[in-house]
């Protein structure tokens, strides 16, 4: 499995993660699919995405909004692409759209077959077992605007991911409490930091934090 978890931040901050992402793809001029969390104004996000990766001499991109109808031709091309990037946004809306479009099993299959899957913020949370982290903690959460009840996601890794993390006692208190009642580890990453998974190997880029069994650990 080849996965990249981006927390957020600007292009400069994410440069190391980008290189890791490209290293995982390991192909000259690969085809990268961009999946926005919502089609609303996502064409602009796609343009920024293309402009950014064009700097790495990549010229083949597929824009694939999933909350609008799509045909099987573009879909099969997406599934043939070398990497799929899931963008940030409202995690609940994103999950709901992926489920409605019946894409969750397809994306899982894509990753299992060796395609590189990356996600930023909401897109990264999507690769974990469920999107509980999007609604947690109360003071920093996405609104469940689509009232989605089933929060299970792609379940590609055995940890939870918390993006846009700010190292503060406020978060410590809630995450320590959360992990006391679960076996799951929460990896919390500030903007610019992230995680690279290559098969059984996990690599942390930037300053990351782990919460487990009610304790906090610094990584890097």
């Amino acid at each position: 499995m080849k996965l990249v978890f981006y927390s957020g931040g600007d292009e400069k901050e994410n440069l190391t993660l980008d290189y890791s992402f490209l290293e995982l793809i390991d192909k000259k001029n690969p085809v990268i699919t961009f999946i926005p969390s919502s089609s609303y104004l996502s064409e602009q996000e796609f343009k920024s995405f293309v402009r950014h990766y064009s700097k790495f001499k990549i010229t083949r991109f597929i824009y694939f909004p999933i909350d609008v109808p799509f045909d099987k031709i573009i879909f099969s091309e997406v599934m043939r692409s070398d990497a799929i990037h899931m963008a940030g946004g409202n995690t609940f809306y994103f999950l709901n759209s992926l489920r409605k479009a019946k894409l969750l099993p397809q994306l899982k299959k894509f990753a299992e077959k060796g395609g590189v899957l990356s996600g930023l913020s909401a897109g990264a949370i999507m690769m974990t077992e469920n999107i509980e982290m999007a609604g947690y903690p109360d003071f920093d959460r996405d609104e469940n605007i689509v009232n989605v009840k089933n929060l299970s996601a792609l379940n590609l890794v055995d940890f939870l991911f918390f993006p846009h993390f700010k190292n503060s006692p406020r978060y410590d208190a809630v995450f320590n409490k959360y992990t006391r009642s679960t076996d799951k580890i929460i990896y919390a990453c500030p903007d610019g930091a992230g995680i690279v998974v290559k098969n059984d190997e996990i690599r942390f880029i930037g300053k990351c934090y782990a919460y487990s069994k009610g304790h906090k650990f610094n990584i890097n």
């Binding site: 089609s39 064409e43 602009q44 343009k47 010229t59 083949r60 045909d71 031709i73 609104e143």
Partner: protein, 611 residues
């Protein structure tokens, strides 16, 4: 109602609303074209509140300060109501000696203008015009003079009901609908959502300045535009052979265009030059408009009366305006007594309007009214035809996603390639369902089969990823709309050839630019991929979606303030802005607005291929 208008000032921001006082019924058309209007006294209408106010437009018009917050202060609301909440004292009121409190009567009169309307039995424009609208006046800011008129201010003697039934009606008389002189808030909302979207996408259009709300969904809808004159304002006097008033209308209109610097030429050596320049401007505007309507699937009921459209091709009266998701070229609106024109017939109607303006120029110059057919082969008509085709070509290149520089280059140096592509594009765009003509809620239609936006959006990215063209089956799979049945999609030999042509002509445009500018094909296709994703986005507003959106907004509106409605209309217009070069500034809106907008997006999505 204050009998003497004050100029309220917001003490905090020291903003004054003095410019509202210019909208007091006085308007240059009144004095310059006395035969072109009817005047009415008016009284303040109580019980109104401001449902919507267009803060950005008001700033552009100089009605509020540039730094005014987009919120309705009590003073501003009072100013809006004092200015626009009025009902005319019409013929019925006078004949029945209905008394109104003296302090409620406005000091000035308000005009209803005369223009030709095909629904009037007279057919000459002697009895027709603004049936439920008055002009509030004009206001000047930054060198532009804006006209402001209000719909729903009472029944005038120029309404069809008055003239068909030969009687005057009391304003609000429930026995007549349109003739009762009132308007509904829903009509204002429909115009608001539609005009803001079309305005952002380069259409000339009236815009909604304010919507006032009264009991039972009744409203006054205030509209603004730099020049609210329509061809029909000329045509009534042309039909009647009334040279004097026709000349007054022409001179009035031309002076406003010159004053607003709306034309390149601002002075004329002779009157002949002046009137023929007007005709040539009409040819230019109406060729561009008719082409844009065709390219963007806008149905605007253009007809021989020159109503429903402004002199510059701007859209006015959104009652029968539609934007189709596909090229439903055979749709006709059912107006009870008649069917409307179709999108494709709009070109001929636009042509007819231009021909009338050549007739007008000749009439004003020679003082003799020749028959319209006399001008059939006039050079201005030829310029209309040429400009129409030029505009069609340019619009198509823009739709593909080419930048302006590339569009100009292709039009100048590879017109044959552009024309070839336009022809094959039209073949798919105009393909019709075997189902034939059938009734739709407000008219008749024969379904279009293909969604051209989808292929324009997907072709460049699929080509880039594969570096190869699409198979016939793939092409049809992408382009087919929800209206297409299996039998409509048969891959006949002709269709296969057309699919091949579509792709090879498309690529020939790319090759031309590749060679001429020494740019890589990949670079060009990538650019088109990005631009086309905006221009041909999947969700595009249609007439049906606007109807449902207005219903949704109406349900929510008891809890929506004027300011919130303004914010929503702006967000909606931003979402439907198809300009690939736009700089996006997305405001952080409250969660409640996000939820509402999600609902509106779903409506647009569901209706994306409809009428």
């Amino acid at each position: 109602m204050n009998s003497i208008k004050k100029s309220p000032t917001d003490e905090v921001g020291k903003r004054s609303y003095t410019n509202f006082s210019q909208l007091n019924g006085e308007h240059p058309f009144k004095t310059q074209v006395p035969g072109g209007r009817v005047e009415y006294k008016a009284r303040y209408r109580k019980g109104g509140k401001v449902a919507f106010f267009n803060f950005e437009l008001a700033k552009e018009m100089g009605l509020i300060a540039k730094n005014h917050p987009n919120s309705l202060t009590p003073d501003l609301e009072r100013e809006i109501l004092d200015t626009f909440s009025l009902t005319i004292i019409n013929e019925y009121d006078l004949m029945n000696d209905i008394k109104f409190a003296e302090e409620d009567i406005f000091p000035n009169t308000f005009m209803a203008t005369r223009y030709l309307q095909l629904q009037h039995p007279d057919k000459m424009g002697r009895t027709s015009g603004d049936g439920r609208t008055i002009w509030n006046g004009s206001v000047k800011n930054n060198g532009i003079t804006w006209d402001v008129s209000s719909c729903g201010t009472g029944g005038t003697k120029l309404s069809p009901a008055c003239n068909i039934n030969k009687k005057f009606y009391q304003t609000g008389d429930p026995s007549v609908s349109y003739g009762c002189g009132l308007s509904e808030v829903a009509e204002g909302l429909e115009t608001l959502f539609f005009s803001e979207v079309l305005g952002k996408n380069g259409f000339k259009t009236e815009r909604v300045l304010a919507i006032l709300e009264y009991d039972k969904g009744i409203g006054i809808n205030v509209r603004a535009n730099p020049n609210l004159i329509r061809p029909s304002h000329f045509f009534s006097h042309l039909r009647q052979g009334n040279l004097e008033t026709l000349k007054q209308v022409a001179d009035y209109y031309i002076s406003r265009q010159v004053e607003n610097k709306a034309w390149e030429v601002t002075s004329f050596k002779t009157t002949k030059e002046k009137y023929y320049y007007l005709a040539s401007q009409m040819a230019r505007s109406f060729a561009e408009t008719a082409a844009k309507f065709e390219n963007e699937y806008i149905f605007c009921w253009l007809d021989w009366d020159g109503d429903n459209i402004l002199m510059d091709g701007g859209i006015i009266d959104y009652g029968s305006i539609r934007q189709f998701g596909l090229f439903h070229a055979e749709y006709r609106y059912d107006d009870v007594q008649r069917y409307s024109t179709t999108i494709l017939e709009q070109r001929q109607k636009a042509r007819y309007i231009v021909q009338c303006f050549i007739q007008i120029a000749d009439f004003l110059t020679t003082k003799k009214k020749k028959s319209l057919s006399h001008f059939r082969a006039h050079p201005i008509m030829q310029s209309f035809d040429k400009h129409f085709i030029d505009s069609k070509n340019k619009n198509l290149l823009q739709k593909i996603g080419f930048k302006k520089k590339d569009q100009d280059h292709l039009l100048k140096n590879h017109l044959d390639k552009v024309t070839r592509f336009r022809k094959v594009f039209s073949y798919f765009e105009r393909s019709k369902s075997k189902r034939g003509m059938y009734k739709v809620p407000d008219g008749i239609n024969r379904d279009a089969l293909f969604c051209m936006r989808d292929i324009l959006r997907e072709f460049p990215q699929l080509y880039l990823t594969r570096l190869n063209t699409l198979s016939h089956e793939e092409f049809v799979e992408i382009i087919k709309s929800s209206y297409a049945r299996k039998s409509d999609l048969k891959l006949t030999d002709i269709r296969k050839k057309q699919i091949n042509r579509f792709q090879s002509h498309y690529l020939s445009l790319i090759t031309a630019l590749e060679k001429d500018f020494n740019i890589s094909r990949t670079h060009l296709m990538l650019e088109l991929t990005m631009r086309s994703s905006v221009i041909n986005k999947c969700d595009r507003v249609t007439g049906d979606s606007i109807t449902y959106i207005v219903q949704k907004v109406q349900k929510l509106r008891p809890k929506l303030t004027a300011h919130e409605l303004f914010e929503l209309s702006q967000q909606f217009a931003l979402y439907q802005n198809l300009d690939p070069d736009q700089k996006l500034v997305v405001a952080n809106s409250p969660e409640r607005h996000k939820n509402i907008m999600q609902n509106l997006y779903s409506i647009v999505r569901e209706c994306r291929e409809g009428l």
